[in-house]
Symmetry: C2
Subunit: 154 residues, 2 copies
DNA sequence: GTCATTTCTTAATCTACATTAAGCTCTAAA
DNA sequence: TTTAGAGCTTAATGTAGATTAAGAAATGAC
């Protein structure tokens, strides 16, 4: 368990790394994301204060996600040691978020995903660029612009 | 921990239930799914032999998913007791599947999701109707028909 | 067996969102 | 102050997959 200070933009983990860590965010904001074959980023998770973030692969297998800092952050970095997981309920909370997200991606149109994002991450909306929100929602920045135009017209 | 025999088609859990359980499948096949406002089903997970399946909500909150049997099945039913979770690595395995699935839904076209489904669930393909596979992939049965036509033409 | 249902496929049309490209705004550097 | 470059928006066009509808095939009830 190690306390680390990182600067905005700094990369903590890249796809393919072995022995990837788990990060607890004390202050600041991290994100994890995948990059597909066309080079397009897909943000998988934002992690503001008090969140944990990491790649869900066993520590001996190369990881799938990139993790970097969107703001200057202070984090606690720990090994992925199964025996060290004292807070099982934190894992279960995370699984609940994932379940909701999958159902959203399968059924809700872009507009509803945007509204859901705003209610789940009210503080984050002002802290990240639009294109990152689009990436999280699984749409293009252009489509997000259109969604917002309609959203506020209502 | 209770052993139960269930018949094909039998509902084990419906959306809104409290104190939802966790099921370990000894034989047979279960599925969990959501139903959206338009009445459309979205299969969230298949659980063949040796899988665990359940809703990722705390036991005191109403659950989100329906769970039923696709085949006659024999299952072990247990309470959602955090202290009883001895196999943390099973949770972690599940999270890995969810992570892959979200990235798939965000970036891969229907054809690749179908191919990925076949490799991850090779035994299941013959055991469930096409429309359930479509529901799992997040496309319509009509679109799946088209995907398969192209897939086998290659 | 027959009849009724449900499932699967095909084809025509429609639509949400992607893609492309251009213009606008803001910041930062020289 | 101009210039370069991100980031955001707008609009035109393109496309994957949805929707609708109809027919074929499989399944189940009697």
């Amino acid at each position: 368990m190690k306390r680390v200070q990182i600067k905005k933009g700094q990369l903590l983990q890249r796809k393919g790394d072995l022995h990837s860590k788990v990060y607890h965010v004390e202050s600041g904001l991290l994100r994890s994301y995948a990059i597909d074959e066309k080079g397009k980023e897909h943000i998988y998770m934002f992690a503001p204060e008090n969140w944990i973030i990491g790649d869900s692969v066993p520590p001996n297998r190369p990881c799938e996600l990139f993790i970097d800092a969107i703001e200057d952050s202070e984090i606690l970095q720990s090994e992925k040691d199964v025996s060290a997981i004292t807070e099982v309920h934190k894992l279960i909370n995370r699984m609940e978020v994932l379940q909701k997200r999958i159902i959203m991606l399968m059924s809700a149109p872009a507009m509803e995903r945007y509204e859901h994002f705003i209610t789940t991450y009210p503080d984050i909306v002002q802290r990240v660029p639009q294109k990152m929100i689009a990436s999280y929602l699984g749409i293009t920045p252009e489509a997000l612009s259109a969604v917002k135009r309609i959203h506020f017209k209502k």
